[in-house]
C-alpha cells in the first residue's frame, strides 16, 4: 500500500504535465473577435450531459459561434481543478458557487464575468447574485440549483394533525409529539458523512446568521467560539429526534424511511425526488423551510448552485463572454431542463410551466430568499469539509461531543496551506 500511496503523493506534481498534454485548447485562437469558444463540462452522466449538449447546440444555432465541448467525469474535473486551471483549460467550465469559486477567483485563475451579468443580471435575485460574487465582481453564471428543506408526507401529517413548525421551539415540540405517536421524528442517514453538514449549515445560519456561517466556513471566524458552541448546543436538543441508526444508513435509506411513513420529516435537498419516484408518494410530499431559531428568521436558505465560470485565459475572448451571457438566459436553462428536469432553473425568465407543484414551491422559496448558502463542502475549504468535518460530525452523532478547540487547530493548519 505504501508504495501506491507515496506514488499518489506526487500525483499532484505528475499531473501537471499530464493534464497539460490532455486538455486541448489552443491559445493562439484567443483573439478578441474570435467566433470560437470552448466548454469544459464535468457533467458526464448521460442525462445532464445531454442537457449541456442542448445548451451548446442552441447557442451555436443562435449566434453562429462554435463551441468545442470537452466532457470529463465530474471527479476528474473536481479533483484536478487546480492543475486543470493552470494548464490549458477550456474557456468556460462547469463549476460551483461559494468558497470553491472564490478560492480560484482569489488565486487569479478565473476571470470576472461582469460584462455578462450586465445583460442577464436582472434574471437573478439578490441571493443568487451574492453567491456568484467575489470582492464586488461576479465570477459565476448560475445554471440550476437545488434547495434543502424539510420534507414530509401530507397524509401522515393530516392523520396526526401536525402543523408546520415556524420556530425552533415548535419544531422541538413537534418532534416530541411525533415520538409519542410512534414515529421516528427526523429521518437521517449519514453513512457517507456529508448529509450531516446540511443540518449543521441550517443550525448555524439560523443561530448565528448567514454572514457568520459563510465567514466561519471560510475560516474568517474561529471555530473555538461560544457562537459555534451554541450551534452544537441546539443540535444536542435535536439529536434525540434524529434517526438513531444514521451512521449506518445512506441518505437514500433515510428517504425511504420517510416515504414508508416510519419517519415524520426529512431535511434533505430536492434531489430527494430523484430517489423517490413513485407518483403517489411524490404527490403526497410537501416541505417547509428550516424553522427560525435566533436571527434572520428564514431569510437564508441552503441551495447549492451549479453554474459556469470563465477561466483566466479566455478573458478577452468575446465569444466566450457571449456564450456566458447566453447561459444565463431562461432560454438556455430551459434547453438544459428539457433534458434534465430534476433541478430548478435559476433564471427568472425561465419557463416554469413544466414544474411540478413541489418544484414551483421550491423555486418560490429560492426567489424569496435573501441569502443562499452553498452547502458546507462548497462554502468551506474542501479539505476542511472532507477530512475534518465529516469525522467531527460523525463523532458528534455518536456521543454528542465535539472538540471545538481541536476543530480550530485543524482549521488553522488546513487554511494556512490553502
Amino acid at each position: 500500500m505504501h508504495r501506491r500511496s507515496v506514488l499518489k503523493g506526487t500525483a499532484a506534481l505528475g499531473a501537471i504535465p499530464i493534464l497539460a498534454a490532455c486538455s486541448g485548447g489552443d491559445p493562439a485562437t484567443q483573439a478578441a473577435d474570435s467566433k470560437a469558444t470552448s466548454l469544459g463540462s464535468g457533467l458526464a452522466d448521460a442525462v445532464p450531459k445531454s442537457g449541456i449538449q442542448a445548451m451548446v447546440d442552441l447557442f451555436q444555432q443562435q449566434s453562429g459561434d462554435t463551441v468545442r465541448l470537452n466532457v470529463m467525469p465530474r471527479d476528474q474535473l473536481v479533483n484536478n481543478i487546480s492543475t486543470y486551471l493552470q494548464a490549458n483549460p477550456e474557456d468556460v467550465i462547469t463549476w460551483f458557487a461559494g468558497y470553491r469559486m472564490r478560492y480560484y477567483a482569489g488565486k487569479g485563475l478565473l476571470a470576472p464575468v461582469d460584462d455578462a451579468w450586465e445583460t442577464i443580471g436582472k434574471n437573478f435575485g439578490a441571493g443568487l447574485a451574492d453567491a456568484s460574487a467575489y470582492q464586488g465582481k461576479k465570477y459565476l453564471i448560475p445554471n440550476y440549483n437545488y434547495p434543502w428543506a424539510v420534507f414530509y408526507r401530507k397524509s401522515v401529517w393530516q392523520q396526526h394533525g401536525y402543523q408546520v413548525p415556524g420556530t425552533w421551539d415548535e419544531l422541538l415540540a413537534l418532534c416530541a409529539t411525533m415520538k409519542k405517536d410512534g414515529l421516528s421524528p427526523i429521518a437521517f442517514g449519514d453513512k457517507d458523512g456529508w448529509p450531516a453538514m446540511g443540518t449543521f449549515d441550517y443550525l448555524n445560519m439560523r443561530t448565528n446568521g448567514y454572514q457568520f456561517h459563510v465567514d466561519l466556513c471560510a475560516h474568517h471566524e474561529s471555530w473555538d467560539s461560544p457562537k459555534v458552541q451554541a450551534v452544537f448546543d441546539n443540535w444536542t436538543a435535536l439529536l434525540p429526534y434524529q434517526d438513531t441508526g444514521a451512521l449506518g444508513a445512506t441518505w437514500q435509506q433515510a428517504a425511504h424511511n420517510m416515504a414508508n411513513k416510519k419517519s415524520g420529516m426529512y431535511l434533505i435537498g430536492t434531489f430527494l425526488l430523484q430517489e423517490i419516484t413513485d407518483k403517489s408518494i411524490v404527490d403526497d410530499l410537501d416541505f417547509f423551510p428550516f424553522p427560525a431559531i435566533a436571527v434572520e428568521g428564514t431569510d437564508a436558505i441552503e441551495a447549492p448552485i451549479d453554474g459556469f465560470v470563465m477561466t483566466r485565459r479566455a478573458e478577452k475572448n468575446k465569444a466566450a463572454m457571449d456564450f456566458l451571457s447566453f447561459l444565463g438566459t431562461g432560454a438556455a436553462q430551459d434547453a438544459y431542463a428539457s433534458k434534465d428536469s430534476s433541478n430548478l432553473q435559476t433564471a427568472a425568465d425561465a419557463n416554469t410551466s413544466t414544474f411540478s407543484p413541489i418544484q414551483k414551491k421550491a423555486a418560490e422559496m429560492i426567489a424569496q430568499s435573501k441569502k443562499v448558502s452553498q452547502f458546507f463542502d462548497r462554502d468551506a475549504l474542501p479539505a476542511m469539509a472532507n477530512n475534518v468535518m465529516i469525522p467531527a460530525l460523525q463523532s458528534f452523532l455518536k456521543d454528542g461531543k465535539v472538540d471545538l478547540k481541536n476543530l480550530e487547530t485543524q482549521a488553522k493548519t488546513l487554511y494556512a496551506a490553502a
Binding site: N79, Q86, L247, A392, A417
Partner: protein, 317 residues
C-alpha cells in the same frame, strides 16, 4: 559451460561471479554487456521513476506547506505536518490502533484458520476439491466485491445476519456497519473470509510439494498424527511459513478497499492507508499533511520489511 557466449543472460550472470572472484579475464561480449545493462538498467530506471523519486518527493513535501498551485507557493514548515498528524488529527491514533487490530486478527485468527483448512483438506477426505474451491472463491473476488457481498449480509434491516437473528426491523437490530463499536469486527470477518482462503491455497500448495517420505519415516518411527504435523511437517515448511507471515503483514498494512467500500474509512473504520488517500487525493487534498501521513505509513511498513530482509540475507550468508 566453458563458452561465455551463452544466449541466456541469467546463465551468464551466474557464471560471471566465480570468474570475477577468481580474477580471470572477463569474457563477456559486447552484446552480453548490452543485454545485461538493459536488464539491470531498465528495471532500475522504472523502480527509480515510479518508486524512489516519488518517495523522496513525498518526504520533501511532507516538511512543506503547499496548495498545489504555483511551485513558488511551497513553504517549508519543518515538522508541523507531523505534529498535526500525530497530535491534532483525531483519526490518526484510531487508525494506528485499527491497523494493529487488523494485523492481530489476521495473524491470530485468519492466517491460522487458513493453515488449518489447508492441513485438513490435505487429508484424503471426500469432496476435498469441492471444499478447496469453495474456500478459494472469495480470493478470486476483488475486495470491492467482497465489501458489497458483505454489505448484503450486514445491512441493518434488509441484511441476512439480522434476519437470521430475528432482529431485523426491530429496535434491537445491530447496525453492523454503522455502529463504531462493532463495524471494525464486521469488516475484519469479511476480510478474514477472504484472507483464510488465500493462505489456505498457499499452504496447500506447500503441503502437496512436501516429500511424502518424510511423513512415512515419521510414522515408521511411531510419531502420532499431531507429532508429525508439528515436529515434521511445519519445520519442513519453513519457507512457506515465512511467506505466509510476510503476506499477513502486507495484507494488514495495505488494508484499504473493504473499509473504503463500506463508508470511506470513517466512523470507526479509520486505517492509515485511508487517511493517506483522503489527504492526498481528490477534494480533501492537503499535500503537506498527506505526504507526512504517507511517510509515517512508509516508516511503519519498513519495520516488517527490514526484519524480513535481515532474516533473509542473514540466512543467505
Amino acid at each position: 559451460m566453458t563458452q561465455t557466449t551463452a544466449p541466456v543472460p541469467v546463465a551468464t550472470e551466474v557464471e560471471r561471479a566465480p570468474r570475477a572472484r577468481a580474477g580471470r579475464v572477463r569474457r563477456l561480449t559486447g552484446s552480453d554487456r548490452l543485454v545485461l545493462g538493459l536488464m539491470v538498467g531498465v528495471p532500475t530506471l522504472i523502480q527509480a521513476v515510479l518508486i524512489w523519486i516519488p518517495t523522496l518527493l513525498s518526504i520533501g513535501l511532507s516538511v512543506t506547506r503547499w496548495n498545489g498551485l504555483a511551485l513558488s507557493g511551497i513553504k517549508p514548515v519543518g515538522l508541523d505536518n507531523y505534529r498535526y498528524a500525530l497530535r491534532d488529527y483525531p483519526p490518526f491514533w484510531p487508525a494506528i490502533a485499527h491497523n494493529v487490530i487488523w494485523l492481530g486478527f489476521l495473524a491470530l485468527v485468519a492466517t491460522p484458520l487458513g493453515v488449518l483448512l489447508a492441513v485438513v483438506l490435505d487429508q484424503q477426505i471426500r469432496f476435498t476439491r469441492l471444499y478447496q474451491s469453495v474456500f478459494f472463491t472469495p480470493v478470486m473476488l476483488s475486495l470491492v466485491l467482497v465489501g458489497i457481498v458483505w454489505q448484503l449480509v450486514y445491512a441493518r434491516n434488509e441484511g441476512l445476519l439480522n434476519n437470521l437473528l430475528g432482529t431485523a426491523g426491530t429496535n434491537g437490530a445491530v447496525d453492523w456497519l454503522g455502529d463504531p463499536h462493532v463495524n471494525l469486527w464486521a469488516a475484519l470477518i469479511a476480510t478474514g473470509w477472504r484472507h483464510a482462503g488465500y493462505i489456505m491455497v498457499l499452504y496447500l500448495a506447500g503441503l502437496k510439494g512436501l516429500d511424502p517420505s518424510l511423513r512415512e519415516a515419521a510414522s515408521i518411527d511411531g510419531a502420532t498424527g499431531r507429532q508429525t504435523l508439528f515436529r515434521v511437517v511445519f519445520p519442513a515448511m519453513r519457507q512457506i511459513n515465512i511467506l505466509v507471515v510476510v503476506i499477513t503483514f502486507i495484507e494488514a498494512l495495505r488494508a484499504f478497499d473493504i473499509v473504503w467500500v463500506i463508508n470511506h474509512g470513517t466512523n470507526g473504520l479509520e486505517l492509515l492507508s485511508v487517511l493517506v488517500i483522503q489527504n492526498l487525493v481528490g477534494e480533501g487534498q492537503v499535500i503537506g499533511v498527506g505526504s507526512a501521513l504517507a511517510v509515517l505509513l512508509l516508516i511503519v511498513s519498513l519495520i516488517p520489511i527490514v526484519i524480513y530482509l535481515v532474516r533473509t540475507f542473514r540466512k543467505a550468508d
